[in-house]
């Protein structure tokens, strides 16, 4: 026999961002729970709204599965006494399992024989076991928990009712002083308290009380509603997925409506309008067929059509107030010069120990300039990049950004253009915040690259210098994301500058400020190791294997795009049979070089043809390798190294490096050491595992 089961957790409005995940957890945990309990079922359906999380289990067995369990006892050696009778130990074991020695059978395990009994475990009635669902409810994890009243339970929001039905029987348990029952609540205003007749009717009964329990259905209703409005009026509405998911989780009974605002607000930058609508009010912006923003918005109400006119008017009023604020800010902000805002930055703390944002910008200016010089950019670019850096943060002091923080950089670009700044300078203000996420868009201008890298380097070096290196999940200044940002910009721009040079520049600038709490060497080392970890992370993301990453980054990151290229070349080579002897030869040199203490070679001390031969090849290879290596040609550079392989084999074949004669020995070691140092300039090939694939 089977029955249906319903569990519903009734809550005060859950934060929209927790709901989907909580529903998924509930399903996964329920499945595990039933498997562990050995209770069969046909299907599981889940539901969620801001006020409830629910699960319906169809066709739940009335009893647990009965099983035969094999129970292992003592080893045969102690199970029988000298006379061959069952020992006390054996009899005790059977008794403990409610069995007699007649039930004993034996089995071998790892060469030892043990005694066993079979135990029959009768399945219990499901109803007896179902109250343990309490722990499933309590175990759901939310991003943030709270307590309420006099309860000790921590949960996303207070639990106000619990439904637990087995057929039409209530499954008894209690959480935070709320006892399970068979009633629930409909929509907060349109529905009422009612009794659920059976689990199967849960969804439909709720619908009668103006609750669409299935989130996908709510989502579809919203999408249909938007499409209908769009079609009737010839609008284009680009439905933002995240906003849609949020909105469906803010309502139990969605009704789509359209509101409007005054055309004059369209003079504001569209980002301002869209932020007001989407971020602040959760409206969908409306565009014309040719993607022009129109003075309308689409909202979703939690309820039916009743009083919809009032709701629309209210929403319009709120948006109008926001937009009129924004329009006021927009005008007001333009009454002041960029310098006016820059002066204000002198009063805003960036980080307690690292001083004001103004201090930060001054450091950034030096960093930008030094990077630009070492990359030998044209004066024109350098002038623009410096200007962009010095005004990169001014918009933080404008009213608009103060009110709409999401618009930092974006407003900076707009205002800078209005104040007659160069186009690239203005664009760099916007771009220096990029990428905003690990995989986010990158800047598009050289100036944008420069300011972005300078800003991020300053933050990373500064934070690490005052002991704020990220640990575990703690990364309040998002240093990891910023480090990845720098590396991605290096990769994209192909700049011929090593990561260590960049770090040197930033550390030098910070060191001159005298706020650094650790020695210059220590700081360099910390930052380099932090950046290396991020480089490893990025390489792993692009599926490079760990040993290759270790080999390439063994010395230093160097020029990052080149490191990426080398990683690719070596990933191909490690499965190329022709490469194996080459790697062996080079690694042999690397191993022996550990014994060398200098690199001086005197051709006059050579004894054999093979060492002369090797020396000659080395003399030729070193400059060509250096050229390819410096030009960032990973394949060509490795080909140069490969030329050494055969002479190296010959060299080891015909010479005893550790000769008794010190002069001969040191001369040979010097040669080995010279080769070693160019290999290491490329990668630590000894770390790469040979992989043969067929």
């Amino acid at each position: 026999m089977v029955r249906d089961v319903l569990f519903e957790i009734g809550l005060e409005e859950l934060p929209a961002r927790f709901i989907d995940d909580a529903e998924n957890q509930l399903v996964a945990k329920t499945k595990d729970w039933l498997d562990e309990l050995r209770i069969g079922y046909e299907a599981i359906a889940s539901y969620s709204t801001p006020r409830r999380l629910a699960i319906v289990i169809n066709g739940l067995s009335e009893t647990q599965t009965t099983i035969e369990e094999e129970i292992k006892g003592p080893a045969m050696k102690i199970a029988k006494d000298n006379e061959g009778n069952w020992s006390k130990a054996a009899i005790g074991f059977t008794k403990g399992q409610g069995k007699s020695p007649d039930d004993i059978y034996t089995k071998e395990l790892n060469g030892t024989t043990y005694i066993y009994v079979k135990k029959h475990i009768e399945g219990k009635p499901s109803l007896e076991l179902l109250p343990t669902f309490q722990s499933i409810i309590e175990s759901i994890q939310f991003g943030k928990n709270m307590r309420w009243g006099e309860q000790t339970l921590r949960y996303a929001r207070p639990i106000r009712w619990l439904v637990a039905l087995y057929g039409n029987e209530v499954i008894p348990f209690e959480i935070a002083s709320v006892k399970t029952d068979n009633f629930t609540f409909g929509h907060r205003f349109l529905g009422e308290k009612f009794t659920i007749s059976e689990p199967k009717s849960y969804e439909n009964q709720l619908k009668e009380h103006y609750v669409i329990a299935n989130p996908n259905e709510r989502e579809q209703l919203i999408v249909d509603g938007i499409n209908k409005v769009a079609e009737e009026n010839n609008y284009t509405v680009n439905i933002d997925e995240n906003l849609l998911k949020e909105v469906r989780n803010l309502v139990e009974y969605p009704t789509v409506f359209i509101g409007s605002y005054e055309k004059t607000y369209l003079d504001l930058p569209s980002e301002v309008l869209i932020t007001s609508m989407k971020e602040h009010q959760r409206y969908f912006p409306v565009h014309s067929k040719d993607e022009e923003l129109l003075p309308y918005f689409i909202g979703v109400r939690n309820g039916d059509e009743k009083g919809l006119e009032t709701v629309i008017r209210g929403n319009e009023k709120v948006l109008r107030a926001r937009l009129s604020d924004a329009a006021f800010f927009y005008e007001e902000d333009q009454n002041n010069s960029i310098d006016f805002y820059l002066n204000k930055l002198e009063k805003v703390v960036f980080q307690e120990k690292l001083g004001t944002i103004s201090d930060k910008v001054q450091r950034m200016e030096k960093i930008t300039e030094n990077i630009a010089h070492s990359l030998k950019f044209d004066d024109e670019v350098i002038v623009k990049a410096k200007r962009a850096t010095s005004i990169s943060k001014f918009d933080l002091m404008t009213n608009m950004v103060n009110e709409f923080t999401e618009l930092q950089g974006i407003m900076g670009e707009k205002y800078a253009l209005k104040q007659g700044e160069d186009k690239n300078v203005a664009q760099a203000i916007k771009e220096h915040y990029l990428p905003k996420s690990t995989a986010g868009n990158l800047p598009e201008t050289i100036e944008g690259y420069l300011v972005s890298v300078a800003d991020k380097l300053d933050t990373i070096v500064g934070c690490i210098s005052v002991g704020l290196r990220p640990t575990g999940s703690q990364d309040p200044y998002a240093l990891r994301r910023q480090a990845v940002g720098i590396l991605r910009i290096l990769q994209e721009s192909g700049w011929n500058i090593s990561v260590n040079t960049l770090i040197d520049i930033a550390v030098q600038v910070h060191h001159e400020t005298n706020i650094v709490e650790i020695s210059k060497e220590e700081l360099l080392e910390e930052v380099i190791s932090f950046m290396k970890q991020r480089a490893e992370f990025l390489l792993k993301e692009s599926s490079v294997e760990v040993d290759i990453i270790d080999a390439v980054l063994d010395n230093e990151i160097g020029i990052f795009p080149y490191a990426v290229q080398k990683a690719k070349v070596l990933s191909d080579k490690r499965v190329d049979p022709a490469f194996k002897p080459i790697q062996e030869a080079l690694v042999r040199v690397m191993n022996l070089a550990k014994k060398a203490d200098n690199q001086s070679v005197n051709p006059a001390h050579f004894q054999t043809d093979s060492e002369k031969e090797l020396f000659e090849v080395v003399e030729k290879v070193i400059p060509s390798f250096n050229k390819e290596n410096n030009d960032g040609k990973a394949m060509e550079a490795l080909e140069q190294l490969a030329k050494l392989a055969e002479p190296i084999h010959q060299f080891f074949e015909h010479n005893m490096v550790m000769d008794k004669d010190e002069t001969i020995k040191n001369n040979r070691l010097g040669l080995v050491s010279q080769i070693n140092s160019i290999i290491k300039n490329y990668a630590n090939l000894s770390l790469i595992e040979w992989k043969q694939t067929f």
Binding site: E13, M146, V311, E352
Partner: protein, 292 residues
């Protein structure tokens, strides 16, 4: 409904829910939460239900009476219940009905909003309540006050009086709101709004304010050491308002700013501890009262 009627209605309603009807506390403060009737009384195990209107001063929001939405001083209607009742959401929604807001004719939502006031070492979880898209109430379950765990949990409802009134009276400009029959916010508050803004941003004697801050802080410390929690707390409030005036004037430098905030926070924290200790010494009298 004019503002005066709104206040009377809310007072009437919450007094029926067994809230003690208090008057505004007579020391300047930035929010109703800072009244000792909320901040101190939320601490400890004693039950506490109270409602009051709190004029809240935010010097930095002063706009010389020229901005339709911002005020140097606005009004909050504050409800505090400890422990938070199980039906607090229903009680709150009923209160909106008494203001003539029929939920069936509107869209009322509870949108996640977590509140934090680092200066007071206070934090809570809850929502902003939206009425047709407008935030009209802050609804918070206190989790921490003065650095101490709130246990049992206090719930705080903060109605923004002017916000709510602008909706109820359908006015775009806060100064057009009717306070009673015939008088508007403009009549009553325009002059003080202008003068306070001018004082705050242009005329305040900053040297005196700096001195006052130090004196208030010192007095708070000394008074607290004598176990006089409430007077000590008054001086903390004075510190906070003085700081706000200085901050709005833009005369507090970076390094100092964090310093000032942490000085106030430290005071608030030690007073929170002292308050609980003092109540405990008295045997938590209001707890006994309920049992009797």
């Amino acid at each position: 409904m004019n503002i005066q009627e709104m206040i009377l209605t809310l007072q009437n309603y919450w007094s029926k829910q067994n809230c003690i009807l208090m008057q505004a506390y007579d020391v300047e403060k930035g929010a109703g939460t800072m009244s000792p009737m909320t901040l101190l009384r939320s601490l400890g195990p004693e039950p506490w239900n109270v409602a009051y209107v709190e004029p809240s001063r935010r010097p930095d929001d002063g706009r010389y009476g020229e901005n339709p939405n911002r005020l140097y001083q606005h009004h909050q209607f504050q409800v505090i219940m400890k422990p938070s009742p199980d039906n607090i959401q229903e009680l709150y929604l009923e209160s909106l009905k008494t203001l003539g807001i029929d939920p069936l004719e509107h869209d009322i939502r509870f949108v996640e909003d977590n509140w934090e006031n680092p200066t007071l070492g206070a934090a809570g979880l809850g929502w902003e309540v939206w009425l047709d898209g407008m935030e009209i109430t802050q609804f918070t379950y206190f989790q921490q006050i003065g650095g101490l765990e709130a246990n049992p949990v206090t719930v705080e409802l903060t109605y923004g009086i002017e916000r709510l009134a602008s909706y109820i009276q359908d006015k775009e400009n806060v100064f057009d709101l009717e306070w009673n029959n015939g008088m508007t916010v403009k009549d009553i508050f325009l002059q003080p709004e202008y003068e306070h803004s001018k004082y705050t941003f242009e005329e305040s004697n900053t040297e005196m304010l700096f001195q006052l801050f130090t004196m208030y802080e010192e007095e708070a410390k000394v008074t607290m050491e004598k176990g006089l929690v409430f007077p000590a707390y008054d001086y903390v409030l004075k510190c906070s308002h003085t700081f706000n005036l200085l901050d709005a004037r833009g005369v507090i430098s970076v390094t100092e700013r964090t310093g000032y905030i942490s000085r106030i926070r430290n005071l608030a924290r030690s007073i929170a501890k002292a308050y609980v200790a003092e109540r405990e010494r008295l045997g938590f009298p209001m707890l006994n009262k309920e049992e009797a």
